[in-house]
Symmetry: C2
Subunit: 360 residues, 2 copies
């Protein structure tokens, strides 16, 4: 199957998507590397690490396993990978492979971006959500005061996306990945949005999966190619993320999945859009779809002031004002600098709309 080619400012790279293609990895890796370090997490290691090491081109192959979850995007794990790379005598001609979801991709990618000032890395995503981070070259770790605050723009050399590894995902992870696909559809493709609203997340075959991933990746790729450094339209990709990041930070990373937080963030973006533009968006339809697909709406009581403060410390804030992506219409996004007071009241109203208790 033809790969999707992504143009980044430093180089272009291929995203291969298909069934069982992880076994063809040595076919895709044409460059001779002096050594390879595979970074993965405990869960993915059990499923795919040995398989992967078997099929890698003969070389000095090392691996390092980090704990499952967002908590691994930490200075501590970052430092562990650097130490492992040095102790394994990786040099500038070495390769890092990120085998796992977005957490592993971001962490291993940032390690690759900064090890000896940058070596190549390849992503082998094992979640649907990771389709998002496989395009755009954003790599990062978290600071205890906020998500993704320490990082680089550093695209991979290649992405090898084997959809068979997605069939073992838990429902929770499928939901998480599809929230980003919904986001991409909302930004740029109305018919794709309606396709998704007609998809039952309990029954997705590989054929549908490949189709949805490709559509999502192409939407993201088009935006990123036009604006790699996030100066303009790339901000559209933050649709739903202003509240999502605040929710994750407030509830504790890992309590709610990223995609589940994005789902709520998307609803909030539609909610604010309707008020701002006095238009009619499929807020209710989307909420029903999320609910019928068991996205979690039972959250602990939340304090809107705390969420506001978190939104302000988000790195998308400019001049200390909250910037939000809103929709004039499906596939017509725009960036609005929102007034603090107005947003505060809308946040209160939104929490009531999704039946979350307010805490002082």
């Amino acid at each position: 199957m033809e790969p999707i080619i992504i143009q980044s400012s430093s180089h272009s790279y291929a995203i291969h998507i298909g069934e069982n293609i992880r076994y063809d990895l040595s076919h895709y890796i044409t460059k001779k590397y002096s050594s390879i370090l595979v970074v993965t997490d405990e869960k993915v290691a059990d499923l795919y690490l040995n398989d992967l090491i078997q099929v890698l081109p003969q070389s000095n192959i090392y691996s390092i396993i980090v704990p499952v979850g967002e908590q691994s995007k930490s200075m501590e794990q970052f430092h562990r990978i650097q130490t492992k790379a040095i102790e394994s005598h990786l040099d500038r001609e070495s390769l890092i492979i990120a085998l796992g979801g977005g957490v592993v991709g971001d962490l291993a990618g940032f390690a690759a971006a900064t090890f000896m000032r940058g070596i190549n890395y390849i992503q082998v995503p094992t979640t649907i959500l990771a389709h998002d981070s496989s395009v755009g070259g954003k790599v990062a770790i978290n600071h205890k005061l906020g998500k993704n605050l320490i990082g680089s723009f550093y695209p991979p050399k290649m992405v090898v996306y084997d959809v068979n590894t997605l069939q073992s995902l838990k429902k929770k992870e499928v939901r998480s990945g599809y929230a980003e696909l919904v986001k991409e559809a909302l930004i740029a493709n109305k018919s794709f949005f309606h396709t998704l609203l007609n998809t039952n997340l309990n029954h997705i075959d590989n054929f549908k999966l490949i189709d949805h991933l490709k559509k999502g990746i192409k939407i993201k790729a088009k935006i990123v190619e036009e604006d790699e450094k996030e100066a303009g339209i790339r901000k559209y990709l933050n649709l739903g993320h202003t509240l999502a990041h605040a929710l994750e930070a407030e509830l504790g990373y890992g309590t709610i999945t990223h995609g589940e937080a994005v789902a709520l963030g998307l609803l909030f973006a539609l909610f604010v859009s309707e008020n701002h533009f006095n238009n009619k968006l499929p807020l209710e339809d989307l909420k029903k779809w999320f609910q019928s697909n068991k996205y979690p709406f039972q959250l602990p009581a939340l304090n809107p002031e705390v969420l506001m403060a978190k939104m302000k410390s988000d790195k998308k804030a400019v001049n200390n004002n909250i910037q939000m992506v809103l929709l004039k219409e499906i596939a017509e996004p725009c960036v609005i600098e929102v007034d603090d007071n107005a947003l505060y009241f809308q946040l209160q109203a939104f929490l009531e709309y999704i039946q979350v208790k307010i805490r002082n």
Copy 2:
């Protein structure tokens, strides 16, 4: 005075060099930044921090002070700066100013490179040695297993080099800076090399200083512009650094200054070159100049095997072999992959030549 313009792959930037030009900083900074974080060390803070803050364009100005010395190029200080930046609500339109020597430049530059995936930074160097790191965009911190192993290529937006701040330097620091100037002369400019051998480091006026800094910066800039990512001729700039990094790591960063280690490394490079090419280089003249200018030659006993191991773990090593820059002639550098055994014996002979005891 006309600035030197450096072309990097991402942008071009100006290096302004002159007397008392730190007071013109607000004149040079034409962009409006949302806030500014000045990073400096304890010693430089006492001398210049308040002055600098006075002349900055009106804005939200913050500062953070790190301990003096190479030890500050650590994960810990890196994390402190990130925390300070977040707590001060820096955003993507903020600026970091690195006020200090190479350590502050590398540390603050790496923080700027990775804070929210990269914000602008300006260098205000206060050492002669920092002329070297002000060109080339290399920013990094150290790992306990090796120097500069974690970093990026991330050039500053501007360099404002006030030579008046150099007149307060200790002799040790003057020596350290001039070792890199000697290196640049050896790589590319024979007459500059002879000028330096005729310079008494106890008597350098601002006029000479500006002249030497400009010559050194131009040599480095020419090489870096041709090879930003260190794939080819940029390696020449590592002349003397293979042994220097090993010495610093072995003796403990800070025990010997970087430039003092480079001085010994340069002699070693000439020593190996003479053996390799069977040529005659000004090894003895340079040694005498270093000695008459009080570069320290009294080192504790060293173990050549340990130094060999450190040279192998240097990030310039490729395929686990030591690469060294050698000179066919002054201003005729080349990169040679050196045989371990041969190098081991030459290292022993060299330690005897500079009268350092060998330890098992």
